[in-house]
């Protein structure tokens, strides 16, 4: 195989395809690796779940029927607080308030 063969359009195309496949495989390997590295967090997660007694994810705490989806009753809007937003479809289109802008450092406080 000479230089001309390596530079032919089909060789370039197949090389590009191979690169893309490699990139995808790297993503897959990365996913497996990340999962294996997560074992420390796994112990912490299991411990937290057993202390809290709930595995519900705290990503929908605007409404209790969302926050604890697995441990609640029939969902109805406005049952949490007066003027509470109807969860759907507002949840998709309205941004949450930004508390992340506050700089809070968690320091150990001297007694």
């Amino acid at each position: 195989m000479n230089r001309e063969d390596l530079l032919r359009p089909s060789a370039c195309f197949l090389s590009m395809l191979a690169l893309l496949l490699v990139a995808l495989c790297l993503c897959y390997v990365h996913a497996i690796y990340a999962l294996s590295q997560d074992s420390k967090r796994e112990t912490l997660r299991m411990g937290t779940v057993s202390v809290l007694g709930s595995a519900d994810l705290a990503i929908n705490n605007a409404a209790r029927y969302i926050r604890h989806v697995s441990l609640t009753d029939v969902s109805t809007p406005f049952q949490d607080c007066p003027g509470g937003l109807d969860y759907f479809p507002g949840a998709i289109s309205v941004n949450p308030p930004d508390f992340m802008g506050y700089v809070t450092r968690f320091e150990e406080v001297e007694p």
Partner: protein
Amino acid sequence: MNRYLNLLDFTIHSFLRRKWKNLFLMLLFGYLVFLFSSVLFLTGAIKQEAQRGVMGLPDVTVQKLTAGRQVPAPATYAERISEIFGIERVDTRIWGYYFDISTQANYTIIGYDPQKDAWKDLGLITSPAEKETPLENGKAILGEGIMRARHLRLGQKIGLYTPSFSGRSFKVIGTFKGSTNLLTYDVILLSEEDAREVLGVEQGLVTDLGVYVYNKNEVTTVAKKITELLPGIRVVIKSQLGRTYDTVYSWKSGFILITLVGCLLAFAMMVWEKASGLSAEEKREIGILKATGWDTSDILIMKFWESLGISLPSFLLGITASYVYVFFLGAPLLKSMITGWSILYPPFEFTPVMNLDELMVLLFLTVIPYIISTIIPSWKAAIIDPDTVIRGI
């Protein structure tokens, strides 16, 4: 091999003749794949997070219902349930929701037995003086979201109202680690007695009970026995919780995918238009190729390369880009659509997950139909006499 490579060379020459049109097609294709796979990756990651948490839950959760709604259950249920054969232990639980007017957020208050010290294994961030202190009355462990929302530091106090409108303050002795934000962001851990007071759960009552079973294969049987033993209760077994998580995030991703169906339909229309016939120019070219010695299989191979050359790189690029978008860039815009609106919105990262089954389905829904839509009209043109096409000029 040379034959296929030569035909591929020719296909690429053809591709470059209409390079802007083909590039646009690739971008569109890739973008479509990117959208769909981003939703699938994100949902898969959230579901994985939720499912992994399920492992630490009680095997059976027992709740009391009145008029179809959950109400506090008598604490004596614990003793009665413990008598059932096969039960390892029964935990009574005090927990509930607290609406904070100042931040308009719901907090989850969980009562914890001060005699137990399992919370110390959670690596909480505490002040040195409080490291060994049990979670006694008057003290609280807060989730990071509440610390931020209420601008608190360790050692400061958080004020909560009881149902009788009297105020109670609790010293913040620790906060949960950021890596558990998904579970703890809006949580306040109090002693059981304090939790009762704030939530208004009377003595002798508990919010619900957690039941642990020795033999995990007997969970359903035990759950049935509990239902028969106690009137007016609902039992929720761990596997049901797992399915609930799946359903919650599946319907959300399904909803978003449905809104993307518009894009898919537009793409399908384009593919259909391609499949319904070649242009006069394309037919002429096929006629010329046949007249110069190409046979039907050569033309079909060329067309296969043409469609694969557009669809497969676009597919691979779309998937890779969506992986980077979700797991390295944090899926801005899309994350909030899947996870929803919230006052206390936890910052979190997902553990990457790649479900090959879903990717194969996406491949069969995109690349394969595109290839078929190119091959069929080409085959129809390739089998006619080249003489008919050439004479038409």
